[in-house]
């Protein structure tokens, strides 16, 4: 027993020292960025902020994207939760606001919110109050490996319609090139297909009608059609072998390794593919291309409509004031310009996009500027439960175990069940 007792005492002592915190104010900042080059700049920004604000310490914590989404609901219920958390806005944000776990940032953002893109700020506004500081925007579209496309005899610039895409896939397959790489294990990379088709088919009105439950909601004709079109692509078996087992970082890495001609990507993958490629270099700038998600004949959506993310930071209830102050620093012009210069993101600070160094990222910024309807990711926009069902169902379709009707019905059922 004495050994046990000693062990227990030692354990208790350890537990106590681990619980001790520093005397100064610590801002706990939880991020999900996997790109070490970008994290390095963030760290410098944090150290910079600490230097300007003596007595404040910014502590960075990291969770991988999927782990973060899985853990967030329980993290938020903990009393020593992180002070700053990552957000994609949308319905998930709304449910967090309803749960009362976020600080209202409206007062803290007076004076600088007008410097940020209005659409981005609007995305973080719930019932007239601003709950998040947006720092980046992105667009979903096809990122291509020009060399491999050429090998299959496909000109990426010629892919304008869904049928063009199907044709390209067939050609690439015939040439022995893997047409598309996708991170099916994480599910959301596959839901982009279905949702972007819906954006093209129905535009903004269709989505808003579905939210209100009109026209059959998400089981209505537009969404059925999205499923049917996606099924056409799935039937061609366009994805890499074992795509349902690839997590997104693996898939992006595989694209960076030159293993497939295309990836339906978030624009920020431009940089991530370099970091995640085996050689840490990825596809070179002159070999990388982009085309917008193809249009669909008869679609109600405008070709300039975009699907993409609006990313920002939330401050959790009870966080020290310094958390909001740090975010102000984080979206200041200098920092945003610096991140833009590294081509890590499309900044939200008006004018900072001038700093984007690569033509690739400048094109994305131009697309977003042109867009009149920027649809947020469905899996975030529709709230925690319905969003996950969209991911589940579209992945099942990609795996061949659900048809268009079942997908639409599963999503509508989830809407009916609520959260």
């Amino acid at each position: 027993m004495s050994i046990l007792k000693r062990a227990a005492l030692a354990a208790a002592a350890l537990a106590m020292t681990a619980g001790l915190a520093a005397a100064q104010t610590t801002v706990k900042w939880l991020h999900i960025e996997v790109n070490p080059n970008q994290v390095k700049i963030w760290e410098e920004v944090a150290r910079d902020f600490e230097a300007k604000n003596p007595g404040v310490k910014v502590e960075m914590q990291f969770l991988e994207n999927e782990a973060y989404k899985a853990k967030l609901p329980t993290i938020l219920q903990s009393k020593d939760r992180p002070h700053i958390i990552y957000s994609w806005a949308g319905g998930v944000l709304k449910s967090q606001v309803e749960a009362g776990v976020l600080e209202d940032l409206t007062p803290a953002m007076q004076g600088y919110k007008d410097n940020l893109a209005p659409a981005a700020v609007a995305a973080f506004t719930v019932d007239g109050k601003i709950y998040g500081v947006p720092h980046a925007q992105s667009q979903v579209g096809f990122m291509v490996n020009k060399e491999l496309m050429a090998k299959g005899g496909v000109d990426p610039a010629s892919i304008k319609t869904w049928d063009d895409l199907l044709g390209a896939v067939k050609k690439l397959k015939a040439a022995g090139v893997t047409p598309i790489v996708a991170g099916g294990a994480d599910k959301w990379p596959l839901h982009f297909y279905w949702t972007n088709l819906a954006v093209r088919l129905g535009g903004k009105p269709a989505f808003q009608a579905a939210l209100k439950g009109e026209n059959g909601g998400f089981a209505g004709p537009v969404f059925l059609k999205s499923g049917e079109l996606f099924k056409q692509l799935v039937d061609l078996q366009p994805f890499q072998n074992g795509f349902l087992g690839f997590k997104n970082p693996q898939a992006v890495g595989a694209f960076g390794d030159g293993k497939a001609a295309m990836i339906l990507a978030i624009s920020s993958f431009y940089h991530t593919q370099k970091a995640l490629a085996a050689d840490k270099k990825g596809i070179a700038d002159d070999n990388i291309g982009w085309f917008d998600f193809p249009t669909v004949p008869g679609g109600q959506g405008d070709p300039t409509d975009t699907l993409g993310g609006i990313n920002g930071w939330l401050v959790t209830k009870g966080a020290p004031k310094e958390a909001a102050a740090f975010l102000k620093h984080f979206v200041s012009l200098d920092v945003q310009k610096r991140l833009a210069a590294g081509n890590f993101l499309i900044p939200t600070f008006k004018g900072a996009e001038e700093g984007l160094a690569s033509p690739f990222m400048r094109q994305i910024a131009a697309n977003l500027a042109k867009s009149k309807y920027h649809q947020n990711f469905y899996d975030q926009d529709l709230g925690p439960n319905v969003g996950r069902v969209v991911n589940d169902a579209t992945t099942e379709m990609a795996g061949g175990s659900m048809d268009a009707k079942q997908v639409a019905q599963a999503i509508q059922d989830a809407v009916r069940q609520g959260n």
Binding site: P73, T74, Q77
Partner: protein
């Protein structure tokens, strides 16, 4: 006189002992085991995200939603599959190995230990090791396929094979435990009976079939019991391998509860799944004990 004093003090000593020794266990058990399961029954009537207190009463809706969810059916099927494989493959394998290794020969003990080793490894570590084994690019399986010039299948990535892959790992991890159960039983067995059979001219196979296996029935029943209970709890192993996917094809009841209840903080829905799992566990334990373990 002395005796009554002694008895009285003994009586009060009894009470002190009860008052000091019992409450910690009862309290811990009530707070962390009994109350939660009772609360699960209560929460399962609400649509609740865990914040504040449950207000939105929905009656039996959560149970209906559970049964309507396709993944739940798959999870149930997979749990049955695990049980079936435990009975049809794992149990005979464990029994055969026990019969071979209960005998004394050089290396027998080392082999027993080797076969038992997977059982003490954490499920998480086992799952990760096998996600390497199955990896389509770097994995062992892929390397074997490449030897033959074939392209490796991504076992974990197909709805057709994900569960098969999980089942192989289940057998790998747990057969050694069942083997040890049998070896322990074999070593406790009356050697005289077996010797007598030998002397009477029974062949080895006859001895095993007619004498040893009947004597092992209680252990076999126990082994089946653990296989079923283990299947109902299986979670840690699935998470690193497939997280229940793709398309829920390798979901188990607990991984279903985790990904549909905990990850989405649908306390009511998750509690309903918990209650269903509880009912399955309790029903099974009672019927099994009553029907098959009566004599123990």
């Amino acid at each position: 006189m002395l005796a009554t004093v002694a008895r009285r003090s003994m009586q009060s000593g009894k009470l002190t002992a009860i008052a000091l020794f019992l409450p910690p266990a009862l309290l811990l058990f009530t707070i962390f085991v009994v109350l939660p399961i009772a609360e699960a029954a209560w929460y399962s009537g609400y649509n609740w995200n865990g914040f504040g207190s449950p207000k939105n009463w929905v009656g039996w809706d959560n149970y209906r939603f559970v049964f309507e969810t396709r993944a739940f059916g798959l999870a149930l099927r997979n749990n049955l599959l695990i049980i079936a494989v435990s009975l049809i493959i794992q149990l005979p394998l464990a029994l055969t190995l026990a019969l071979l290794l209960a005998e004394k020969f050089r290396g027998a003990v080392a082999l027993r230990m080797l076969f038992f080793m997977p059982y003490i490894l954490a499920e998480i570590a086992t799952g990760l090791i096998f996600s390497f084994v199955y990896d389509g690019d770097y994995g062992l399986l892929a390397a074997i396929y490449r030897q033959f010039g074939a392209e490796a299948p991504h076992l974990l990535a197909s709805t057709q094979t994900s569960m098969l892959a999980v089942l192989i790992v289940v057998v790998w991890k747990y057969f050694g435990f069942h083997m040890m159960l049998f070896i322990a039983a074999l070593q406790g067995m009356d050697r005289n009976l077996i010797e007598a059979a030998r002397i009477d001219g029974a062949t080895r196979w006859q001895t095993v079939r007619l004498i040893i296996i009947p004597l092992l029935y209680p252990t076999i029943r126990l082994s089946v019991f653990f296989a079923v209970v283990g299947s109902l709890q299986l979670f840690d192993l699935v998470m690193p391998l497939t997280r229940g996917g793709p398309a829920d094809s390798s979901q188990t009841l607990v991984s279903f509860l985790y990904s549909f209840g905990v990850m989405r903080m649908r306390v009511g829905f998750g509690s309903a799944v918990g209650v269903i799992l509880f009912v399955i566990c309790v029903t099974f334990a009672f019927t099994y004990k009553r029907w098959f373990m009566r004599d123990e």
